[in-house]
């Protein structure tokens, strides 16, 4: 596997506590008893994670679980209490102001939940802002900002002030601004949660389109499981400042690491998470199978109607067309509805 772009080890952010006061229990987290005694909040409590190049890591968790704080530590908008963060091998926390500014001018972009556009600048000027800070020439930054406007589909809105734009348009400006310096690392803190469902869906598609073009390393916070499933390579679930589990969506749903994660994911529609590969069984030798095969990387949601409509098991093929397994209808049903119990047997008199 490639070197991780973001590497974070035993990261703590405890509001109201200095590094000297930080006493850690045997299992690594700061015990709730200590927090209570000191009257402090552990917003990030022993977080260790890596993000690989080109990966989308989704961070989820209840309100107040420390998602925003984690991302602000990774971008060093706030100073972690303790721990280490490396960005492409360089120690983020050891950087001085100058280096930090250089890093943000060249490598990092961030999109904010409430857009955070500068009210006195037009859309174009907002997008050009990071470029101006870099000292780019007027001609160049205007041209680049125009490119970004086109990229997010805001042509004709260049000269509008933020207050004259709809929420979705404002967030496009925010996205364009964060992408203007061509960052390798992209932080998004609930970027779409202030938008209505239709626009949100549109923005998600837009996001995927951009990512397929730009292939950035992304940390994306959301509250919305549907959104997470749609975008995630991996999901990290946070609870009280700690990462409870981190892994592919399937793994989190099928084998939750803790009771909390199990409850957190219990309402997730499984057919939307799982892929054919994770429910198939090894191909039998001389089984009768249906004529048409399904692809191993399809989501169940997509094929379930066809599979359940067949009387025979359905063969599963990989991208090359080779058969890698079969799907039995009974097994599929059991995985989709794990909690349904067999009917009580009634003895007819």
């Amino acid at each position: 596997m490639a070197e991780p772009v973001i590497r974070c080890r035993s990261l703590y952010k405890i509001f109201g506590l200095g590094p000297a006061d930080l006493r850690v229990d045997s299992d690594g987290v700061v015990a709730p008893a200590i927090l209570e005694r000191e009257g402090v909040v552990a917003a990030v409590n022993d977080v260790t994670l890596d993000v690989s190049p080109g990966e989308i890591l989704i961070v989820m968790g209840l309100s107040g679980s420390g998602k925003s704080t984690l991302v602000r530590c990774l971008s060093r908008l706030i100073e972690p209490t303790s721990g280490s963060v490396e960005i492409e091998g360089a120690d983020l926390l050891a950087m001085n102001d100058r280096e930090l500014i250089d890093l943000r001018r060249s490598k990092m972009g961030m999109v904010f939940q409430n857009f955070a556009l500068l009210p006195h600048r037009t859309a174009l000027e907002n997008i050009a802002f990071p470029l101006q800070m870099r000292g780019m020439k007027r001609r160049d930054y205007v041209e680049r900002a125009r490119d970004m406007i086109r990229l997010v589909g805001l042509e004709g809105r260049e000269n509008n002030f933020p207050r004259e734009l709809s929420g979705g348009q404002q967030q496009r400006v925010g996205i364009a601004r964060s992408l203007a310096v061509e960052p390798d690392i992209w932080f998004l803190d609930e970027p779409f949660s202030a938008l209505d469902p239709l626009i949100r869906k549109e923005m998600q598609d837009e996001f995927l389109r951009l990512q397929s073009l730009l292939n950035k390393t992304i940390v994306f916070i959301t509250h919305d499981f549907d959104e997470a499933l749609k975008l995630a390579d991996r999901i990290a679930i946070m609870f009280n400042g700690s990462v409870e589990q981190i892994g592919r969506p399937e793994d989190i749903v099928l084998s939750p690491a803790t009771e909390y994660v199990a409850r957190f994911t219990s309402d997730v529609p499984r057919e939307r998470v799982l892929r054919v590969g994770s429910v198939m069984e090894p191909p039998g030798d001389d089984e009768n199978v249906a004529d048409q095969a399904v692809n191993v990387s399809d989501r169940i949601e997509k094929v379930v109607e066809y599979v359940l409509g067949q009387r025979l098991p359905v063969p599963v093929v990989d991208d090359g067309g080779a058969v890698v397994g079969v799907m039995h209808q009974a097994h599929v049903l059991k995985i989709l509805f794990p909690r349904s119990s067999p009917p009580e047997t009634v003895n007819p008199d």
């Binding site: 908008l77 939940q113 955070a116 006195h120 037009t122 990071p130 800070m133």
Partner: protein
């Protein structure tokens, strides 16, 4: 402990608290009536004997028997700073530089051989500049108002004075803004500066104008530039306050966005924080201009020439007609400057790029063209250059006639009203306050503090009053208090009903707010004028001036409080079938009360500030003493007296805003 320190009694126990307080007070007064109250609880050592009060003026000999000779200590401290620390070198330097600066502006506006040695511009040139400026910022109305004001100065023969005042403003305003900005930014960056500054700002906002003048005169002497210094000192605090407020209001996300854009800390300040605080900063600029104008008029007392000086001269020789014309000029100047600076602040910048040159710069081009025309034309028609003395217009005689008529026809009625008020309302109120043992007043204020805000409020307000007692001005302070109480009562009785009546209809509300806005721009000293014209100079006029000035916030806050009620609440009342009266009694008044109380608080603050200015028409309270200190340039006395006024105002302010804030929270309005 913490609970009792910062919070007053819980609502259900308040009534009992008030009852106890009343009982104790009554008992105290009874004890005094029976003649068994020990003297040290009754009266404090004072500068002036109580018997001097009825003889109006300062007939009583100063006894200097205050408990703490704070004024003398201040005198010595100021002396030390001035002489031993050599501060006079600094003041002389500043004085000289300012004089040069004013000279330059004066020269630009009025010509002459000082400053840059330019020759005077024709008045018509200034008129067209004002006109085009008004038009480009807002439209025809502001254009005619601005141009008209300039024309008024010229044809009423007030040109010289108006230009002197403008030159003072031109020097004072930018300096105040820059100092205010710098201090505000520093306070934002350094917590301890902010903490040190907040009490100073509060005192600065309540310190009477005249109290500022005395130290300035002591350090800088009498004169034109001294007026500018006083004006700057007076106008800086609001700018500091608004800068700090604006910077603190910038949302943390915007700051983070700036940081993520790779801003250095100076880029962050100049390109993110200050621009995001734009609204507050522009409001600050407007406030600075208005404060400067108000103070420039008052600075006439220490020799700042211009419209204020002229007005003072004419008022002192009771030339009321001429005074009125000068007053109108000052008001016009205020309204125009307010209008222009507001319009400039609200102006939306036009970002449509790629306009042709002449279109982008159409107003400057227009201005240059018209100014050139004015210059050329004034070569041929001298009247367009300078209105000669014998052609200036004045209606002073008419106004004087009107005043005479008023005196002739109204005097009897007014005199009767005056005697009635004095005999039946004012004197009894004053004597009651003076009769109250000082310990009773302390008890009242401390008790209210305890009930409304806990030990913290009690100690704070008590400290304010104890200061007044210690420095030996108790009786005079009670006289100031009685005038403020009476004026406030009248303002409430008249202003709030007027406000309610206005708020009931959209059109009336807008009219009322418009007039409140307009009247509020008038420099406070101006309010003395109509009062003198109607009531002449006597003890009632002072109170009248206070009422006229202080009623504005009572009306405005009532209108705002009722109009700003959430529309859903109004709809709910409509659906519940309320008629107008029910709606008012059950919805609008209860919800608006906290805001109205803030208005009453403002009324009280305005009253305190005006009561001191009203000393000009004869009072016997702290204001009279401040005036006296000013004419004696007695710095210690002046500052102590100013602090007395400020502390009384701050004590009231603390209690009332506390109550209003709590009430708002209780109603869930925050």
């Amino acid at each position: 402990m913490n609970q009792a320190f910062l919070h007053g009694l819980p609502p259900e126990r308040r009534l009992k608290g008030y009852a106890w307080l009343g009982t104790i007070l009554f008992a105290l007064v009874m004890v005094k009536a029976l003649g068994v109250l020990p003297g040290f609880l009754d009266e404090l050592p004072q500068h002036l004997e109580r018997s001097s009060i009825d003889t109006l003026g300062d007939a009583g000999k100063e006894k200097y028997t205050e408990l703490v000779p704070f004024d003398l200590m201040l005198d010595r401290a100021f002396d030390y700073v001035r002489e031993d620390l050599g501060f006079s070198v600094v003041t002389r330097f500043v004085s000289r530089r300012l004089k040069e600066l004013i000279g330059v502006f004066d020269n630009i506006l009025r010509g002459g051989n000082k400053g840059l040695g330019l020759s005077a511009p024709p008045w018509t040139a200034l008129m067209v500049i004002a006109f085009v400026l008004g038009y480009s910022l807002k439209g025809w109305r502001l254009a005619f108002l601005s141009g008209g004001a300039v024309m008024y100065f010229a044809i009423f023969g007030l040109w010289k004075f108006a230009m002197e005042t403008l030159a003072l403003l031109a020097a004072a305003v930018p300096i105040s803004i820059v100092i205010g900005l710098l201090v505000g930014i520093l306070a934002y960056k350094r917590k301890w500066v902010e903490l040190a500054l907040l009490p100073i700002l509060s005192v600065a906002q309540t310190l009477p104008h005249f109290a500022y003048l005395i130290p300035v005169v002591v350090f800088f002497g009498i004169g034109h530039q001294t007026g500018v210094i006083a004006t700057i000192i007076f106008a800086v605090p609001p700018m500091v306050r608004l800068t700090l407020l604006g910077l603190q209001k910038v949302s943390p996300e915007i700051l983070e966005a700036g940081k993520m854009s790779g801003c250095t800390s100076s880029q962050l300040l100049f390109r993110v924080q200050l621009p995001s605080a734009r609204n507050e900063l522009l409001l600050g600029v407007n406030q600075v201009i208005m404060q400067c104008l108000a103070m420039v008029v008052i600075a006439a007392f220490i020799g700042a020439s211009g419209l204020g000086y002229r007005l003072l001269n004419k008022l002192q020789s009771l030339k009321l007609g001429q005074s009125l014309e000068i007053g109108v000029a000052i008001v016009l100047l205020a309204v125009v400057l307010d209008g222009l600076s507001r319009a400039w602040a609200e102006k939306k910048r036009d970002y449509t790029a790629n306009l042709p040159f002449w279109k982008r710069f159409r107003y400057p081009i227009l201005m240059v063209g018209m100014v050139s025309a004015a210059y050329v034309l004034s070569q041929y028609f001298p009247i367009l250059h300078k209105v000669p003395r014998d052609l200036t217009v004045t209606y002073a005689d008419t106004w004087d006639g009107l005043v005479d008529w008023i005196v002739l026809n109204w005097t009897d009625g007014l005199t009767n009203l005056r005697y009635f008020l004095i005999a039946n309302v004012l004197a009894p109120l004053r004597d009651t306050l003076l009769y109250m043992p000082f310990s009773a007043v302390l008890l009242l204020v401390g008790g209210l503090g305890l009930i409304l805000g806990g030990y913290y409020s009690a100690l704070l307000t008590l400290a304010f009053l104890v200061f007044i007692g210690l420095v030996g001005w108790w009786d005079r302070a009670m006289i100031t208090a009685y005038m403020v109480i009476f004026a406030t009562a009248i303002c409430i009785v008249v202003g709030i009903p007027v406000g309610i009546w206005s708020a009931l209809s959209e059109r009336r509300a807008r009219t009322a707010l418009f007039w409140c806005d307009t009247f509020q721009t008038f420099p406070s000293f101006i309010y003395i004028l109509p009062v003198i014209m109607l009531f002449q100079v006597n003890d009632l006029s002072a109170i009248m001036a206070v009422i006229v000035y202080a009623i504005i916030p009572a009306v405005r806050y009532t209108v705002e409080g009722i109009r700003d009620i959430a529309p859903e609440l109004e709809e709910a009342a409509t659906m519940a079938g309320c008629n107008t009266r029910q709606r008012l009694v059950h919805l609008q008044l209860p919800v608006a009360i906290p805001h109205i109380m803030l208005g009453v608080n403002q009324t009280i603050m305005f009253a305190f500030s005006m009561v001191i200015i009203a000393a000009f028409v004869g009072t016997i309270d702290l204001g009279q003493q401040i005036f006296k200190a000013l004419s004696e340039t007695n710095i210690g006395k002046g500052v102590v007296l100013g602090l007395c006024v400020s502390f009384m105002a701050l004590a009231v302010d603390h209690l009332v805003t506390r109550w209003a804030r709590e009430r708002r929270q209780l109603l869930g309005l925050d």
